[in-house]
Every structure is written in C-alpha cells, then in structure tokens.
C-alpha cells in the first residue's frame, strides 16, 4: 500500500495523518479513519460535493425562476434590453468556459493516471480560460456603465427601436414600461453574472490550491479526490453559464420582429 507514493517528495508531507504508521488498522494511508477503504471515501466525497451542488442549483435556480416570471411580464422590455448585450462577446465567453471545462476534465484525467505534472498543466490552462472570461466580463460591465445601463438613477435605455409616435400619455406609459422592464432585466444581468463571476473567483482560488498541492506530490493514482470534486464544482459553474448565455444575450434577436 505504501508504494502508491512514488511521486511523493516525502511520505509525511503527503499523508493525511502523518503521525500514524503504515501498520495502523491495515488501511491505506490516504484513507481517513472514518472510512472503510478508498472506494468508500471517494463515494462519500463525491456525494458530499453533489449535496453542495444541489444547494447551488437551488441558489441559482431561484434567480432563474424570478427571471422567467419577470420575462413573461416584461417580454418586450426584456427583448429591448437584451439587444443591448453584445451577443458575440457572450458567445466567445461561452466558448471560453466550455474550453475551460475540457481542460478541467483533462486535469482530472491526468490525476486518474497519477500524473502530477498533467494536473498542474491542465489546471493552469483552466485558470487561464477563467481569467479570459472574467476579463471579457469586466469589459462588458464597463461598457454597460458607459451606456447608462446600470439600473438606478442614471439608467437610460435609448429607445430608438421603440420611437414614440407622439408625446401622448400612452406613449409615455409605454416608455415607462420599457424603462422599468429594462432595469429589471439589467438587475438580473448584473446579479446573475455577478454571482456567477464570484463563483469563478472562488473556483480560481481552489484551483491555485490544487496546483500547489499537485506540485508537492499530494495527489497520486490512488488519491486525487480534491481534483475530482474541484472538477465537479467547475463543471457546475460552466452549466450555469450555459443557461445564462441564451437567457441574457439572446432574448430576441430576430430582425424585423
């Protein structure tokens, strides 16, 4: 059992409880005390992570639910507001995140094969893609700020696509409706993408930790649970964006509608 640490710098640095000898209860050193064996530990760790992801699904789910309710009530306003988003940048970002999911999966794959260098390489690539995504997001936020599209006092959605026929009460009311609905849309945009981005920052932090641990030989063919569940977290973040992109950027893009 102790031969699984061929990649470790020193056994004590890699073991979860370094002060116990290898003859303790006959279990492998990388298996914590409460588990029968590595398989049970891995199953428990995986279920634990999925339990957390279930709470995250409900967390983002609540925001999505509210989005759908308001989208139905303010469809025209949502359509007008969504047109202000740069669909091409959003598409690029979606592609970037999909690539980051691939690199993360490849990192887990490397871990499965016991290749620490592969872990470091692929997790670094994932971080790189994540930073590209966040950079594009920062640019988008800045652009929206300059366009007066941050909800609040100075919100101003130019209504060239809905030119009021006259300064009638109805036209004013309609413009009010658009203004209100568009602010609701952008509230969702900033809240949902902000929440998503904060999850990405946390993910980047965890991945940096993973790289450090991998470089120190913490992960082996028989123990790479942290890499696996970080992968689960990251794929979840990707899935959230997979839904966010069409709902925020592609509400109504057909010309002549």
């Amino acid at each position: 059992m102790s031969d699984s640490y061929s990649q470790s710098i020193s056994p004590s640095a890699a073991l979860p409880h370094a002060d116990h000898g290898h003859g303790h209860g006959g279990h492998a050193p990388h298996v914590a005390h409460q588990f029968e064996d590595a398989a049970q530990q891995k199953e428990a760790v995986t279920l634990g992570m999925w339990s957390f992801l279930a709470t995250e699904i409900m967390f983002f789910g609540g925001a999505f639910l509210a989005y759908f309710i308001y989208r139905t009530s303010y469809h025209q306003a949502f359509a007008a507001a969504s047109l202000k988003e740069n669909w091409w940048l959003g598409c690029l970002n979606t592609g970037v995140l999909l690539c980051s999911s691939l690199t993360m999966a490849l990192a887990v794959h490397s871990a499965h094969d016991g290749k620490s260098r592969g872990i470091v390489m692929w997790v670094s690539a994932t971080i790189l893609f994540a930073l590209i995504f966040l950079g594009v997001k920062a640019y988008e936020y800045t652009h929206l700020y300059h366009e007066h599209l941050i909800p609040g006092r100075n919100f101003d959605i130019h209504q060239e696509q809905f030119p009021p026929a006259a300064n009638t009460a109805e036209a004013i009311e309609h413009a009010e409706y658009i203004r209100r609905g568009a602010q609701i849309f952008f509230s969702f945009y900033f809240a949902a993408t902000g929440l998503h981005a904060s999850h990405m920052f946390v993910g980047i932090g965890i991945m940096i930790w993973l790289i450090v641990k991998a470089m120190r030989g913490r992960f082996t063919r028989d123990y790479y649970n942290p890499v696996e569940i970080t992968g689960l977290y990251w794929h979840f973040v990707d899935i959230v964006w997979i839904f966010l992109y069409p709902l925020l950027y592609l509400v109504e893009r057909t010309a002549g509608h």
């Binding site: 639910l65 009530s73 999966a105 101003d156 413009a175 992968g231 839904f243």
Partner: protein, 165 residues
Amino acid sequence: MNTHDSSRPSPQAKLNPTELDYQSHSHSGGELSSEQNPHATVSLTAYLTVWVVLMVLLAVTVGAAFIHMGPFNLTVALLIAFIKAILVILIFMHVKVGSRLVKIFVVASFVWLGIMFVFTFADYATRSQLPMSSGWLMEQRPLSSGWDAQKREPAKGLVKQSANP
C-alpha cells in the same frame, strides 16, 4: 481507457447483504461491487467528442436565435441548453460511470428545482388580473404602485437628454 457502467450491482452484492458494499476484497472491476468501482473513468475520446458537440451546439444556439420562431425561440434555446448540461453532467462530471446513488443525488437536485418552478408558475398562471398589480398577461400595463410611482415624469428617451453626469 475503459468506460465502466458501474450502476448495475453485481448479483453477489444483492444476495449477500452481510457482505457490506464498502468492504473491498479486490480492485478488479468484476469482483468489487460495481457500485464502488474507484477506477471507473471516462475515456479521452469521450471528453474530446463531448467538447466538440458542445461547441457545435453553441453555434446552433446562436444561429437559432437569429431565426424567427416566435415563442419557440425560447423553447429551442432551453432545449439545447439542457442537452449541453446533460452532456457535461454525464461525461465531464463522470455521472455516467458513477454509482446509482450519485445518479439519484443529481436527479434529486433537479426534482427539487422542478418543484420550485412548477408551483411558482402554477401560482402566477392561475391568478386573475388584480387591479393593483401587473398580473400575468398585462404586459402593456405598468404597475400602478411601483417604486417610482411618485415621480411620473416622462421617460428620458422622450425628452432631450440632460448633460451627462
């Protein structure tokens, strides 16, 4: 790389309840209860194939958005998104080769999400139009008591825009 479907328990595990699943006797895939195969993994080919499919579906999402389908634009967009999510969950997140319990956890998460959606939509869909709220289908009628009900000045788009703040 092997792709194990470890969701089918071996007959031994079912007939012998005293033999706990968590006690491993060997690490060969057949003898160990297939619920707990720690070496099950997804192949490199599967990862790359799914990635290509995801990118293609992204292109389809964008393309479909520019085709006029009325209310079905949303349906198509969500359908494609769900397919992408399922691919990520099954392949990237290893749920396809995971134990049945993991699969149950995943499905349960979405069941709970579904409960929230179904009940909330049912609530809104069965409301009659109340005079003081915007209701479900009163798209053109703004809220009569909104946060900006006090200032009923015309929207900025209609009047000459004041100097940039």
